[in-house]
């Protein structure tokens, strides 16, 4: 048997040898390692490359390490090792090797560019800029380097420097689409709408001219972001559609999802974010999903997504996006702060089934408050840090806005920076006005300002800020004379986004009717108490001005409930399991009603 197989395999070996031209060059890596001292640097690096081509990485590392020891003055082994690490996304190790090669004299274009890229991947933008500047001095016609440097200046908010590099670059090498797109981004950062649009359009035209659909998709996406930031929602949607039509990229879906979110269209936004998530290699889709879930009251899911992203230690993706680690963390902590605050409110208002359950709810609420406070504090600290970076680079509008966010609890300071930011932004984009009025209303706790902001929002595209204004307004309308407006505001908010109510401690004003068999006084009182605890102005009876909750208990003790709006149209309904014993069962019933009434599917 063994002999027969040997014969067959001998034939195979020949065939393989012929196919591959197997000779000394195709010798296995470890076999060649045995050649030992006779190896030259050439043969060692060649063997390492062969080992890499066979996925024998450990072997390759051993050979290259040996080569480094044997030929300490040559940078080649370090470079080969660095390339291996870079390909395997071990950027820290790659950087060490590239730097070692540089010290040994490897100062060519590729090595220096790789060093700058490693720094970029490791989010050390300043060092990356230093190298890119150096490369540009030595290779002044390198368009890629100009583009990379311009991008890094954008990421570090040094917009004037970025503009200068790119304008000079375009003058020198022509309006290449990479340069024009990055320049468009720089102008977008400077809030120079016309210039930004002009250069984005140039990059789109150039990409379409040569049929580079991927590039055109990215340029359209950037154009869409520009239009969105200047409140041109329809144009933004059109460019997003163009971007996705050019190439189905996750960022296109994210941009379109954000537009739908602005309209408070949960289903469309969710669908876009999920499409993005399926393709996305970055955590951005997860962040957007978390934000969407938070807005619409699915806080537990929002928490899980946000904490999943926060727990990730791989930040190399940031290099290709117009954000940095500090801003990324700032956004995550802000989101988590809001999520935990909402969870604390909901936990405190939760119908409970007894004293132990109540104590546990209070404890959970306190825990969520503390965690929420922690995240909010981190968010504020990051806001001040980001604001200071903007200030250093002369991006005053962004700096003042971040300073405002970082100082929100301190009214005097917050208002100072809010006004500074408002003056700059509304001068270039008057439509931003209502957003600032909303913020001022929140800080001052002024119902008048919040009402004023509400009247300024676009009723179709700006439902998201309108919902925020309503959620801030309702708690301020406490006195008797404001009751009708309070009810109206709650109903408006409910129509835009039912999920916003529970996390703000707001409940629908309800007229509760008990029908069917065997409702005892204690049961009715307990249910009303649970609804009130959840923020509802709930009374037994029929008030035509309110939402109605009708509960019908059947003979088998199941309860069928129906929620109707002020005009009597059914909004939600459900059936609970048999309700028998007092508090635990009523608590279960109330919980089911609240979850269903405020849910967004």
């Amino acid at each position: 048997m063994r002999g027969r197989r040997s014969g067959v395999l001998a034939g195979v070996a020949l065939a393989v040898g012929l196919v591959l031209g197997a000779g000394p060059g195709a010798m296995p890596a470890r076999a060649q390692a045995a050649a030992g001292a006779a190896d030259t640097l050439d043969s060692l690096t060649s063997r390492a490359r062969q080992a890499i081509s066979r996925s024998e990485y450990e072997s390759a590392v051993k050979i290259l390490t040996e080569a480094k020891t044997r030929y300490p003055s040559s940078p080649r082994a370090s470079l080969a090792l660095a390339d291996l690490y870079y390909d395997k996304e071990l950027f820290g190790l790659a950087l060490d090797e590239y730097r070692a090669a540089e010290k040994k004299g490897a100062t060519d274009f590729v090595t220096l560019t790789q060093i700058s890229r490693c720094y970029g991947k490791l989010n050390q933008e300043k060092s990356s800029i230093d190298y890119l500047t150096r490369i540009l001095q030595e290779y002044p016609d390198s368009a890629d380097t100009m583009d990379d440097l311009g991008w890094m200046y954008f990421k570090t908010h040094q917009l004037d420097k970025g503009e200068s590099v790119l304008v000079k670059g375009i003058a020198k090498v022509g309006a290449q689409r990479g340069l024009t797109m990055t320049l468009g981004t720089i102008y977008s950062g400077m809030n120079r709408y016309d210039k930004s649009r002009e250069f984005y359009q140039k990059s789109v035209d150039d990409a379409l001219r040569v049929g580079d659909r991927n590039f055109a998709a990215i340029a359209y996406y950037n154009l869409s972001l520009l239009e969105h930031s200047f409140f041109h929602y329809n144009s933004a949607l059109r460019y997003t559609d163009e971007s996705i039509a050019m190439e189905d990229r996750p960022s296109g879906h994210l941009a379109r999802g954000e537009l739908f979110q602005s309209r408070m269209d949960f289903d469309s936004a969710l669908s876009e974010y999920q499409s993005a998530y399926a393709k996305d290699t970055t955590p951005l889709a997860k962040v957007n999903l978390a934000i969407l879930y938070q807005k619409f009251g699915r806080l537990e899911l929002a928490r899980r997504y946000a904490e999943d992203v926060l727990g990730s230690k791989d930040h190399a993706w940031l290099v290709y996006y117009g954000t940095d680690l500090t801003r990324h963390l700032k956004d995550l902590h802000e989101l988590l702060g809001t999520v935990y605050d909402g969870l604390a409110v909901i936990e405190m208002a939760r119908p409970t089934s007894g004293i132990i359950d109540r104590v546990s709810a209070i404890a959970a609420s306190l825990r969520d408050r503390v965690i929420g406070w922690y995240h909010t504090q981190r968010f504020r600290a990051y806001s001040l840090q980001v604001g200071s970076q903007y200030l250093d680079q002369g991006s005053y509008e962004d700096a003042w806005w971040e300073f405002y966010r970082g100082n929100e609890p301190y009214q005097e300071v917050a208002l100072k920076y809010l006004r500074l930011a408002r003056d700059l932004e509304t001068a270039r984009s008057p439509h931003a006005g209502p957003f600032y009025v909303l913020e001022e209303g929140r800080v001052r706790r002024s119902s008048d300002l919040l009402e004023q902001s509400l009247s300024g929002f676009d009723p179709f595209w700006e439902k998201e800020p309108a919902a925020e204004a309503l959620a801030a307004l309702v708690p301020l309308l406490r006195d008797r004379t404001s009751a009708p407006r309070r009810r109206q505001a709650i109903e408006q908010l409910y129509q835009i986004n039912p999920g916003a109510l529970p996390q703000a401690g707001i409940g629908l004003p309800l007229s509760v009717q008990f029908a069917g068999t065997g409702w005892r006084l204690l049961e009715r009182a307990a249910l009303l108490r649970f609804l009130r605890r959840a923020g509802s102005e709930a009374d037994e009876g029929t008030d035509s001005g309110r939402y109605g909750l009708r509960l019908v208990r059947a003979d088998d003790r199941t309860v069928r409930w129906t929620l109707t709006d002020a005009s009597g149209v059914e909004v939600h309904s459900g059936t609970s399991r048999p309700v028998g014993r007092l508090i635990p069962e009523i608590s279960f019933l109330a919980r089911g009603i609240l979850e269903e009434a405020y849910s967004v599917h």
Binding site: R54, K88, A381
Partner: protein, 702 residues
Amino acid sequence: MKARQIFLFILRNLVLYFLLVNSFLQLRDQLDPVFQSAAFLLAVLGALLMERSRMRILPAVAAAAAIPLLARVIFFLVFRAQRAIVSAPATDFLFFYFDKDFFPALLAYGVAWLFNFLSLRLKPFVIIETGLNGLLLVLVFWTQAGYTLTLYPHPSYFAWALAAFVVAEFFVLLLAAGRVPRIDARAVASFSWILVPLLLVFLLFLLSRYGDSSVRAGGGLMKPTMFRFDFAPYVRLESEIKTSDQAVLLFRTEGAADRYLLRRFVLSGYEDNQGFFMQREGGIDEYPAVVPDSSERFPDPGYKDRQSVRQEYYFLTLDPSSLISLNYPLTVTPLENWKSSSFLRVYRVDSRVMRGTAAPALVTSVPPMKPADLALYTRTAGDEQIHRLALQITQDQPGYYAKAAAIEQYLKTNYLYSLKPGIAEDGNQLHHFLFVSKKGYCSYFAFAMALMCRSLGIPARVAVGFYVDPQSEVLNFYEVRAFQAHAWVEVYFGNLGWVEFDPTSNTPAPGEDFAPFPAPDKDRMAQLIAEIVKNQTDQEETAPKLPAVVSATSRIGQEIARIAVLVARLWYVVLPAAYLLLLAGVKLLPVLPGLLSSNARRRARARYALCLVRCAGVGRGRRHGESALEHARRLGRDSGICLVPVADLYLKASFAPQFDAHDLDEGQAALARFADSFRTGVRLPWRILGAMSPRGAALRGA
């Protein structure tokens, strides 16, 4: 204050400060250590001053609460003044930066003040404080488990810090001993015998958690290091995984190209919160997961309807000790790896493999199985929803095989393959897969099928390894890459053995652009095949068969290693049990011969020795130079323990010319009085600690 008290005060606060510093480390990006230290110092000085001025407790609490609030008001007034003079971001942000540290500092302030005030005012509190400090220590380090020991650059620093904490607390107790009634230095020394093992147990627990979740970083199925791979011995359902196309191994088998499921582990254990995991003990065909050093034949279960298959494995990046084989391996033979080979490991496996489903399809009822095995392979978390779904899928299927096949088919056709199944709102990833998202990767499908089968009483387990497509065959060689890592289900069919079911869907979820099984890199494969072919004549078994005696020794060694692994795994049971056993041994063994003796004198002396052991345990032992009666009288005087009659009996037994069984019987009453007085004179916690203390061990009473 006396020097001893001052030293105690400083040492106590050092321990507290140690805890505070470690708490800060958790939030070192957020908090200013100077601010927190200042708050701590303020609390300590405040408590000291209040105690020195003999303030009553309630006013003291009110004053302690007012101090930080007052400090905040003063600071804010100063900040306002600063802003009025210079209005710049630096002065504007003072309010936020103060509050950022102020509120966390309140906790440190509160604990430091309370502990200091109470320990100065109520002397026994020092003892309670050590316990509370231990609790705080656990709380502070609790988040550091689960592969996240981030407070210290290396675990050894953590061990040193913990040792310093224990020593400091021990000295605190020693220094406090004289201040607290009925607690002397000996009692403290006894207590330390409990404290130290307890802390060690805690440390082991922490270190165990430290390594526990290291595989999570690998995406739930594979456990990667820098360049190598292996499987995790348990599988969790992750919300997202990434795959790599790195070549892992090559294997050769003769015959037409076929589909193979190469098995690495079988996961039979199931816990709701853990998922499926490798059962270390018991079960059916739970063979070793490590390639043996020499040729090894596993017991042949004699399964019917199976064919012999021989395979040779050539590992590229898989951990060399990992045993990969088909279901069911009979012989594993390590082969000599040739000099300068491209492969990390070469071995051959002869297996008995089932081809086709004709024989299992005839099985209509649950095959016989031992009750313990049946319990293991049908264990679920009792999930009603999954059970209902299983019933619904199989309601029209009459046979045993038909039910399992129906579940497999249902999952295959109604669910989608996805590397990003998403996050479950309630944390239950399997429910999310089955009832919400309906998409997942192989582990989801395997979990779902195994649990559905189990819920119907069909013994099933999850297997993990690699899926090998027939298309990857080149000249009887198959290349296996990391993305082929797979999970599937094995169902028990009695004398046919475990039969594989692969419920994973081949339909990708919408929008996910990936090719599930891209074609192999034939050029690279050809190079490796050429190397194997060239060196095949060198392939001999690693080691000749060992003489029987050596094999027996090896088996004993393996058995010892297996027990050691079991002991290490169950350390939380084994360590305390071993300690208690050892304690019982050293305390009771010296007196046991006397107690069992027929000689009345010896028995009386042994009984006295037993009483002495109990007294010594609670720090009431005989002092050097003290006679038996002096000791017994001192106990009666100081603690109310009635040892004098027992000591009298002991002396009589030792020195009286006459001593018989009648005297011994009379001594029973003395023993009963001792036992009663011991119970009333020594509180229960101290009696328990005394029983667990090794003090008094090896006393013979003479």
